[in-house]
Each structure stands twice: as C-alpha cells, then as structure tokens.
Symmetry: C2
Subunit: 95 residues, 2 copies
C-alpha cells in the first residue's frame, strides 16, 4: 500500500467517524490531517480529490450526484492550487 | 443584494448548468469564477463554503448527508486558507 493509499484510507476513516458522531474530536482530525498534507506539498485540488474518493466510498449510491458536483469544485480549486504553488516557490526563494 | 449573494447565485447557476450538461464550457466557468474569487481575496475555505450553499440549494433532499461531510472538508481547508493568507502577506511585502 503506497502513502497515497494510506492517506486516502485515513481520511475516509476520519470522515466516516465525523459523519457518524459529528463530534469535535473527529473535526479536529480534519485540521490535523490537512496540516500534515500541506507539509507533504499536497495541493488543495488533490485534497478535494481525496475528499471525493472518500465520499464515493461512504455514499456509493450518490455516485451520480457526487461525481459531477464535486468535479466542478475540483476544477475551481486548481486556481487555488496554482496560487498555493506560487506561495511555496516564493517562500523557498526567501529561505 | 450584496456582492457575496451575487457570487453565490452566479456560482450556483454555473454549478447547476454543469451538473445538467457536464460540458467543458460550464467547467471553464469554474476556472474563471475561482480566479476572480482569488483576486477578491476569497479564501479556499470560503470557496468551499459557497460550494456547500450551492449544493444544498441544488440537492435540498441531501441536506443530512451534504452538511456533515462537507463541513469536514471545510474544516480541513482552513489550513490551506492560512497558508494562502501567508502567501498573500509574503507577496505584499515583496511588492
């Protein structure tokens, strides 16, 4: 199992837990996992993609609704990803 | 109607069009709208929030599934928002 697959599994498990319990502890997990993803240079659109995979696993019956609606968000996040990359380049130059 | 409300309406209309047609033209709209949002300093988590509002309007019957699952993504995007803000500050200093 590669790192990416482990990330997807961990994220899906956390998301599932939050959907079931809706407690603050699971929500805190979302913050922690996103911070670790930023450190690993995972871009916002990759993060959204991972969220889509997790949603499809949790709600397979919603495939036809989740897929297009979330693909649209994914496309929109690419611009944020470019801005994020620009930030990383700028920061590297400053270091 | 304030700017925020106009943005939400525009985004919802674009998303709806894409869900119905799934054509490239509507997808291109996602890219354009996100670029304009970045220019307006709208953070990624605010963008995700707007997507949630749009989804709830398009799929009101999915409220109980959309709300918690997307709230989790929203929380995760806050870290990306912080990184994005850091980028803007860095860029402003360089200008």
């Amino acid at each position: 199992m590669d790192t990416r697959e482990i990330d997807t599994r961990n994220y899906t498990a956390l998301l599932k837990k939050y959907i079931e319990t809706q407690d603050e502890q699971a929500l805190y997990g979302a913050e922690q996992i996103s911070k670790s993803f930023i450190k690993k240079n995972i871009l916002p659109e990759e993060f959204v993609n991972l969220h889509i995979q997790a949603l499809l696993e949790i709600y397979p019956d919603l495939h036809d609704k989740i897929k297009p609606s979330m693909h649209f968000l994914l496309e929109a996040m690419i611009s944020y990803g470019l801005a994020h990359q620009e930030f990383q380049n700028l920061r590297e130059k400053q270091l």
